[in-house]
């Protein structure tokens, strides 16, 4: 079984996001970039399945600018066998990414495609679902547990009401939740080995995919500042303030 894992390069989750002064987007210069956190879980799970002898190859793929190669390289350092970078400039929307992934799936013929449930930058949570539609494959989203069966997967999903367990036939798309596993650290020798693993570079345009954004972004702005809190002396005062000032009761 072959697993394709999609990873995205995003602003590191510890970095405080700054909105550009003119409201056209967020500041990405001089900002630390990392792998989208649930994508780390996706890679980890794929590698674990391979280590358990249930998969033969793990291929990491990223779509984006040249530097997204670092994200692929990181996936190689924790156990992916080889990488693919599909180069595209600027914002690449989920639809474009899923079309690219569709082309790569047709070429690579994996049995499973894993990715994070959503990216922490645009929070779209669409790519896996769109890819499932394009390929007409079953999908298991928000996976927090995956059991690999003969010709199917048993997947536990994190849903609003609790946990839902489903079975999907292979080939399938799985989008991974942070609870799926604890991603391993890349060891120094493995980082070195990863430097020698191949990363195939393809231009999105060569796949015949137009990555031009379809969504008009009108404005990006910071959330309103939270007002400073106050201490109240008594329950009466609290109730009075909730009634007259906050007007919530």
């Amino acid at each position: 079984m072959k697993i394709l894992v999609a990873v995205k390069r995003v602003i590191d989750y510890n970095v405080q996001i700054r909105v550009k002064e003119d409201g056209t987007g967020i500041v990405t210069e001089n900002v630390k970039m990392s792998t989208n956190p649930p994508d780390d879980n996706a890679i980890e799970e794929a590698v674990k399945i391979k280590e358990a002898g249930k998969a033969t190859e793990v291929v990491a793929i990223s779509v984006g600018e040249e530097k997204a190669q670092e994200t692929v390289r990181k996936a190689l350092a924790v156990g992916a066998d080889r990488g693919i970078l599909v180069k595209a400039e600027g914002t690449v929307e989920p639809l474009a990414v899923s079309k690219i992934l569709q082309k790569i799936v047709e070429k690579e013929k994996p049995d499973l495609v894993f990715m994070g449930k959503q990216a922490i930058d645009d929070d779209c949570n669409q790519t896996g679902q769109m890819l499932a539609a394009l390929l007409n494959w079953p999908q298991a989203t928000f996976a927090s547990k995956i059991d690999v069966k003969e010709k199917s997967l048993e997947v536990t999903r994190e849903v609003d009401e609790g946990l839902e367990t489903i079975e999907v036939n292979v080939p399938a798309i799985v989008t991974c939740d942070l609870r799926l596993n604890e991603p391993r650290y890349a060891s120094l020798p493995n980082i070195m080995k990863a430097k020698k693993k191949p990363i195939e570079q393809i231009n999105a345009s060569d796949l015949g995919i137009d990555t031009k954004p379809r969504i008009d972004q009108i404005k990006v702005e910071e959330p309103p500042k939270r007002k400073a809190g106050i201490k109240v002396a008594s329950v009466e005062e609290l109730v009075q303030k909730l009634k007259n000032e906050a007007k919530v009761i």
Partner: protein, 539 residues
């Protein structure tokens, strides 16, 4: 436990200007050398914090065509100002009356973090293997007592010291020569200085704490290329320190404050002095209407020539501010750190090629402009122990009239942890509350540093005696860690009327001030799990 071993010709610890220059120079001298460089930050530059007005002298020698290689050195200094601040007034000091070491017209305003990222690209292109996210946590020794290399930190250890699921053992990096370039108060450098008595016969090292904020300011207040320094308010005559304000590209100003860690009043809070400084009319008018986008702090070396330890030992060299090559009157340490790394590289090259001892570092160092620079600068900082006014008068005589050639060397008498007076004997300082426009509290400041340490790992700020902070330091000095820490790591909390010393180690921005200033030297800074700490951008 057996750890995996990797062998190199040279192992370099630390990806700052000195370590990277060592690596680049070595590769230029012999492209076949196997070199690896470890960096504790998640990426090169993420733990770098510096003013920075950059003198290109060392870089001109290392990479002469740096201008053609898209280096992040773009903003030439166009104008200089020096102000003495009174509480509300300021006096502008004519720059022609400044010693030449403090004149900057040939220098550039840069982000040292970005310069390091660029140097790392140059080094990687030459074949240096750079490993960010891997702190060297331990020195390895050969049976003959010489340095064998370093071991990286184990990853995935929980608070109690047990292995977690993702546990990844550290590995041993063995080098024919190891170069320590951890920066000011490196935690391995400190051990080596002790073990090999590298500071024997030298004055105690002197340190400062430096703060930096990056502001995006109004166009009308921005003068690209302007370099401004101040002395005076809010510090009193007996506290050494001053500010910098550098107008960089993209409407940014790099605003900072440095305070000597030899301050005496345990009630002093360096962070609050910096915040208060920004309320001075001559500063406020520039940043008003702007936005603070970055914050950080880092200890720096101020001891200079008299405190500079021997920089070689069996099997290893100590470079940059891990030893202490910063030039205090120049307020610059990047070019000197780079040069010390380059001298180290030449020493190592000779060592491999003609079996010369590493001690030949000393001759090369003494013959270099670096030595001359540090020698001539040596008397400035100690003269400020007489106070700001006498210090300035002496510095004028020493630097302008005699150009550092006075026939004597002033001494640094005390280590910084010895200078605090008892809390009862010193005046309390009432700092104004932050307005959240110009001045801020520590919490919102640390937030801007992007600092994170993986939860559930051992505390990396170790107490030799866990009771001492409450039983002694609190009583005698009102536990100054609460104030000197720029990130609010240390707190004294009252629980049921019992004082408790709390260490919020996840906030630590790796400045090392606690390791330096704690009066009983009770706090030991060790490396946390790799990649932890701040994530500075263009600091």
């Amino acid at each position: 436990m057996n750890r995996e071993v990797m062998e190199y010709d040279v192992v370099i610890v630390g990806g700052g200007p000195s370590g990277l220059s060592t690596a680049i120079k070595l590769k230029q001298l012999d492209t076949n050398l196997n070199i690896c460089l470890l960096e504790k930050a998640s990426e090169i530059g993420a733990h770098i914090l510096s003013g920075n007005v950059f003198e290109t002298r060392a870089l001109d020698e290392l990479i002469p065509n740096w201008k053609e290689l898209n280096s992040p050195i773009k903003t030439k200094v166009s104008k200089e100002k020096f102000l003495f601040l009174g509480k509300t007034k300021s006096l502008s000091w004519p720059t022609w009356l400044l010693p030449s070491v403090q004149q900057n017209h040939n220098n550039y305003i840069i982000s040292l973090a970005n310069l390091c990222r660029w140097l790392a690209e140059q080094a990687e292109a030459l074949g240096v293997e750079i490993f960010p996210g891997f702190p060297a946590s331990e020195v390895l020794y050969n049976d003959d007592g010489s340095v064998k290399g370093v071991a990286t930190q184990d990853m995935g250890i929980d608070k109690e010291g047990n292995k977690k699921d993702g546990f990844e053992p550290g590995i041993e990096l063995v080098g024919k020569v190891t170069v320590f370039a951890e920066g000011c108060r490196g935690h391995l450098g400190k051990q080596l200085i002790q073990k090999y008595e590298l500071d024997k016969g030298k004055d105690p090292q002197q340190y400062g704490i430096g703060f930096k904020e990056i502001w995006e300011i109004d166009d009308k207040n921005h003068e690209k290329g302007l370099v401004m320094h101040t002395a005076g308010w809010p510090l009193d005559n007996n506290t050494y320190g001053g500010s910098f304000m550098y107008h960089a590209e993209n409407k940014q100003v790099f605003l900072g404050y440095v305070i000597g860690l030899d301050y005496k009043n345990p009630h002093l809070s360096p962070f609050d002095e910096f915040q208060r400084f920004k309320t001075h009319p001559s500063i406020k008018k520039i940043i008003e209407g702007g936005k603070r986008i970055s914050y950080g702090a880092r200890a720096l070396i101020e001891g200079g020539f008299q405190s500079l330890p021997k920089m070689y030992m069996p099997g290893a060299l100590l470079v940059g501010c891990d030893a202490g090559t910063l030039n205090m009157p120049k307020i610059k340490g990047s070019h000197t750190a780079m040069k010390s790394g380059m001298i180290a590289a030449e020493t190592i090259f000779d060592h491999f090629k003609s079996n010369k001892e590493l001690s030949s570092f000393e001759e090369k160092f003494k013959a270099s402009w670096l030595y001359k620079e540090l020698y001539e600068a040596r008397n400035v900082k100690p003269s400020f122990s007489w106070g700001l006014i006498l210090g300035i008068i002496f510095t004028g005589i020493d630097q302008i009239l005699f150009r550092g050639k006075l026939p004597f060397t002033l001494k640094h008498k005390h280590a910084d942890h010895e200078t605090l007076k008892l809390a009862d004997e010193m005046p309390k300082i009432n700092y104004p509350k932050p307005d959240n426009i110009i001045t801020f509290d520590k919490t919102s400041s640390v937030y801007l540093t992007g600092t994170n340490h993986t939860d559930n790992q051992p505390v990396h700020l170790k107490l030799k005696d866990p009771n001492l902070p409450i039983s002694y330091t609190l009583e005698k000095f009102d536990e100054p860690a609460q104030r000197y820490c720029p990130a609010g790591v240390y707190e004294v909390q009252k629980e049921n009327n019992i004082n408790k010393f709390v260490i919020n180690s996840q906030n630590c921005i790796h400045c090392k001030t606690c390791d330096i200033k704690e009066p009983s030297q009770n706090i030991i800074w060790v490396t946390p799990e790799g990649g932890g700490g701040p994530k500075y951008g263009n600091m």
